[in-house]
């Protein structure tokens, strides 16, 4: 009778979920970035610098 090793099985599937899910998220993020051309062209507005009080 062999040991069950469910921990190894779940670790393997977990690695695959993280790798594939991570790649998918990267593609979705890239797609969102490309869909906002106005922001990319002008750059996001910077907040006004607050004067340093002495």
């Amino acid at each position: 009778m062999t040991a069950d090793h469910w921990g190894f099985v779940l670790a393997a599937y977990g690695v695959a979920v993280v790798a594939l899910g991570g790649y998918w998220r990267r593609l979705v993020h890239l797609e969102r970035t490309l869909k906002a051309p106005a922001l990319r062209a002008t750059g996001s507005p910077r907040p006004a610098r607050r004067p340093v009080s002495s």
């Binding site: 090793h5 190894f8 393997a12 599937y13 690695v15 790798a19 790649y23 797609e31 490309l34």
Partner: protein, 216 residues
């Protein structure tokens, strides 16, 4: 539209494949449940082979025609191939520990897969490091052709050298040497992973085109 359909098909296929692999397929008699990792490991290496074969063909096509669309297919396929090769190596190591007693050994199969992984990471680095896109695509195409020579080395290493890794049970001539329930679960995951590959490549290629149009 095609990408959306492929995306939903891939999601359904991968989830169903995971359920079949973890809950429906029978417990293998000699290896026990750890054999369930094979439903992930073997389709991953199949997709890696497919991805790098596409890079090889597209690289030849690019050097011949110099079409940006062909180059985008090569680039996308290499990226997805690297992800699946990484999964192959990681899941193989996780399977190896309880089965062989070691996470890693420098046998011919494992070493040639590691070389394959490093070569295609290098392929992506070449693309990222060269500023001129046309020159980057040309250098990458040459590398994509040279690196593909490692694919037969990976596959036939278990026949050509004495290795700890067992010979293939399914990606070989002749009938598969495994029970029906295990074979069908494996084949289902082959199809699901292939659809996932097609989804990733079409989506990535589309995004590359949008990036190129935005920077032109």
């Amino acid at each position: 539209m095609l990408t959306v359909v492929l995306g939903w098909l891939a999601a359904a296929g991968v989830i169903a494949g995971g359920v079949l692999a973890l809950l429906v397929a029978p417990r293998e008699l000699t290896q026990g449940n750890v054999q369930r990792i094979m439903y992930l490991h073997v389709p991953s290496v199949w997709v890696a082979y497919l991805a790098f074969a596409v890079v090889f063909v597209a690289s030849i096509g690019y050097l011949w025609k110099r079409t940006a669309a062909i180059d985008r297919v090569a680039h996308s396929s290499a990226e997805v191939g690297v992800i699946f090769t990484g999964i192959t190596i990681a899941t193989g190591a996780i399977w190896g520990k309880p089965t062989w007693g070691t996470w890693w050994t420098w046998d011919a199969r494992l070493t040639s897969v590691a070389i394959l992984f490093v070569m295609y990471v290098g392929y992506l680095l070449v693309r990222a490091m060269i500023d001129d896109p046309e020159r980057g695509a040309r250098y990458a195409a040459v590398l994509g052709i040279v690196a593909a020579l490692d694919i037969p080395l990976v596959h036939f290493s278990v026949y050509w050298w004495r290795t700890l890794h067992q010979p293939p049970s399914i990606m070989k001539p002749g009938p598969a040497t495994m029970p029906g329930a295990i074979l069908w679960t494996l084949l289902f995951n082959f199809v699901a992973f292939t659809i996932l590959y097609l989804y990733f490549v079409t989506k990535r290629a589309r995004l590359l085109r949008a990036q190129q149009e935005a920077t032109a």
